[in-house]
């Protein structure tokens, strides 16, 4: 992985040292296994230390890491027989949002999410995972289809935000997101969301109103980007790391505020270095949660979903 974060560097260095030692032992036919084991213990200790003490800004950078598994990686790893469906039936298809049909343990589900590119070219094609209104309208179309056929909905959230451009405004970005909020609040099938990377404001919430919401342990979720907050609040976009801290946007913070239901732990070292294990952990939570939700009578489910959002917020009176 070429993209190294500063706090990862000591880990990478130690790992390289171990690798070098192993190579040396092999080349010279020596037994250095005791030394290697000692260093391996040291590196696991270092990983534990580093990843238990991540700052909010460290999480932001992990959440944006280009090596993290994307929505399509989660779909491929967790579901069977995925078939992508495209288009909002009104204007166009938006590659920043993907979705379709799949089987989960043999049960048909509708699955969708923001899709970032896995390289520069794909990122350009997918607008860096920032949907236009047609992305949200495609998502709505797929969710209403799910409701019609009684399929549960699983969504993956990973966007810096809904796109801010001329066309997006002309075609009603606000309207598209608002329509999803009201539709998801009343959708007559179980809905599950997982924030897998960046949960950027209304663009994230636009597919994030659900019976159960989880975040990966180094994912983030916020009302505005830390850069945006910093430039509005302090007229200085370089104080983003401070802004990330005061905004309380890490998975632990968001859980403490009662906005999500679970945290899915990434392996030590982060999702970008352990893609398969991360996908597996998310799959396990989704399957278990969906089992619980499918056992609930629809009326109870809808009542509980309403009550959950009804109770959000802190105020006096």
């Amino acid at each position: 992985m070429s993209h190294k974060l500063d706090f990862e560097k000591p880990i990478f260095e130690l790992e390289e040292k171990i690798q070098g030692l192993r190579q040396f032992a092999e080349d010279n036919d020596l037994d250095l296994s005791a030394e290697v084991r000692k260093l391996e213990d040291k590196v696991s200790e270092l990983r534990r230390e580093t990843f238990s003490g991540l700052s909010a800004w460290d999480c932001v950078r992990l959440a944006r890491h280009p090596g993290r598994p994307t929505t399509l990686d989660f779909i491929d790893g967790i579901f069977d027989d995925f078939m992508e469906l495209k288009g909002d039936r009104a204007y166009s298809d938006d590659p920043a949002m993907v979705g379709g049909l799949a089987l989960l343990d043999g049960v048909p589900v509708t699955v969708l999410g923001h899709q970032k590119g896995r390289d520069t070219l794909e990122n350009i094609r997918r607008n860096f995972g920032m949907p236009h209104p047609e992305g949200y309208r495609k998502a709505l179309r797929l969710m209403q289809q799910a409701e019609k056929f009684g399929r549960p909905v699983v969504t993956f959230i990973d966007t810096a935000g809904a796109y801010c451009g001329l066309g997006a405004e002309e075609r009603g970005q606000g309207h598209a997101i608002a329509s999803n909020l009201i539709a998801m609040a009343g959708l007559k099938v179980p809905v599950i969301s997982v924030v897998i990377g960046e949960g950027g404001s209304g663009g994230a919430l636009g597919i994030g109103v659900a019976d159960r919401v989880a975040m990966l342990s180094s994912a983030v979720y916020s009302v505005i980007s830390p850069e945006g907050l910093s430039s509005i609040l302090w007229k200085d976009a370089t104080k983003a790391s401070e802004a990330a801290a005061v905004m309380k946007m890490t998975a632990r913070d968001i859980e403490a505020l009662g906005v999500i239901d679970a945290i899915i732990e990434e392996p030590l070292g982060g999702a970008h270095r352990h893609q398969a294990e991360t996908v597996e952990a998310a799959g396990k939570w989704i399957k278990q949660t969906l089992g619980e939700l499918r056992a609930m009578p629809l009326e109870t489910l809808l009542e509980a979903r309403y009550d959950k959002y009804r109770g959000m917020g802190q105020y006096e009176g």
């Binding site: 809904a162 001329l166 002309e170 009603g172 608002a178 909020l181 009201i182 505020l257 105020y315 006096e316």
Partner: protein, 350 residues
């Protein structure tokens, strides 16, 4: 529920009532407007979305005297009394100045029929966010609304309704936990009492000092509107200057009918953010109310002087009618014309 609706249906009148016409005429006069109610769609040349800035006004702007107010659009000087009486609409350029929730209630709700809902709900500082408490204290002094939205029940030309009116003087009408709770309680009150909901939006967006909790108010209020909708009760959204960010991406855009004041800035993203994203300046009139009508996101633009009459008409078109007993009493004290209408209505029901 169905029966109630049928009963109400007999009350539907497709034209503006005499009272509406009189009130609108008085307001128009106060605003110095010559337009007639027969053309409720405001002519674009009178009220174009383009806001004249100091630069494109030929005469150098004069400073207003102590009893005067300068139009924020064209800089024309009005006497303070006239400016207040016209609800801050300029008779020179048609600019709708920003008015606070208290002024809005005085303009819209029948005198003596207004009662606040959830006034006790106020903001706290859940994230211990730097400087937020001080900002709240300041806002509490600047505005009597108590938070970024005033929620009331009251009558509009005799018709009972639930209203929320966002307060630009309270932290730019930003949506936080307290405002979300107030709006949700108002919607629930409307469901309980089978009232239509009218929401005046004016907001800079979600209140970032409350972090993710402010974002969740979008989901919370939308869920409540979903319930209102399932009950067959109408929600009329009125977008005023400015309606942006999280409010646009939730209840502002969820009205069964969406009205807007002339020239109001309405959009999801802020103009500066868009300019930074696309690296070019925005076309004239972009994100103004007239632009949204053209693009199909707003039903119609309503001049402030005609707002009350149009709302009353919309409510009647949804089968709502003036409240019976008390309304008859109020009306007999005002105009005989409406009293006749009401008696006619009463005869239908009995």
């Amino acid at each position: 529920m169905k029966l109630d609706f049928l009963k109400r249906k007999k009350w539907v009148r497709l034209e503006l009532s005499n009272q509406d016409v009189k009130e609108a005429a008085a307001l128009r006069e106060a605003a110095g407007l010559k337009q007639s109610l027969s053309t409720p769609a405001v002519k674009p040349e009178v009220n174009s979305g383009e806001v004249k800035t100091a630069q494109n006004v030929t005469a150098a702007p004069k400073a207003p005297g102590p009893d005067e107010a300068a139009c924020p659009g064209c800089g024309a000087i009005h006497s303070k009394q006239r400016w207040e009486r016209s609800f801050k609409v300029c008779d020179q350029c048609g600019k709708h100045g920003r008015i606070n929730s208290k002024e809005r209630v005085a303009h819209l709700v029948d005198q003596g029929t207004f009662s606040p809902i959830a006034k006790e709900v106020t903001s706290i500082d859940p994230l211990a966010f730097p400087g937020y408490k001080e900002k709240l204290d300041k806002a509490m002094i600047q505005s009597e609304a108590g938070d970024a939205v005033l929620t009331v029940t009251g009558r509009i030309n005799g018709i009972p309704a639930a209203l929320f009116i966002m307060e630009p003087d309270f932290m730019m009408g930003s949506l936080g936990s307290a405002a979300g709770e107030r709006i949700t309680r108002l919607i629930e009150t409307a469901i309980e009492n089978r009232l239509p909901v009218i929401g005046f939006c004016a907001s800079g967006g979600a209140r970032m000092q409350e972090g993710i909790l402010s974002l969740m108010q979008m989901a919370k209020t939308s869920a409540a509107l979903g319930r209102l909708s399932a009950e067959g009760l109408p929600y009329i959204a009125v977008l005023t200057d400015p309606t942006t960010g999280g409010v646009t991406a939730s209840y502002a855009m969820l009205g069964d009918v969406i009205l807007a004041e002339p020239g109001a800035l309405i959009g999801f993203a802020g103009q500066r953010v868009i300019e930074q994203t696309i690296r070019q300046s925005l076309p004239d009139g972009f994100q103004r109310a007239e632009f949204l009508v053209e693009k199909g996101f707003v039903d119609r633009i309503v001049h402030r002087a005609e707002m009350k009459a149009v709302l009353a008409k919309l409510l009647r078109l949804h089968g709502f009618a003036p409240a019976l007993a008390e309304a008859a009493a109020t009306v007999s004290a005002t105009t005989t014309d409406t009293a006749v209408n009401l008696q006619g209505g009463e005869a239908h029901v009995s």
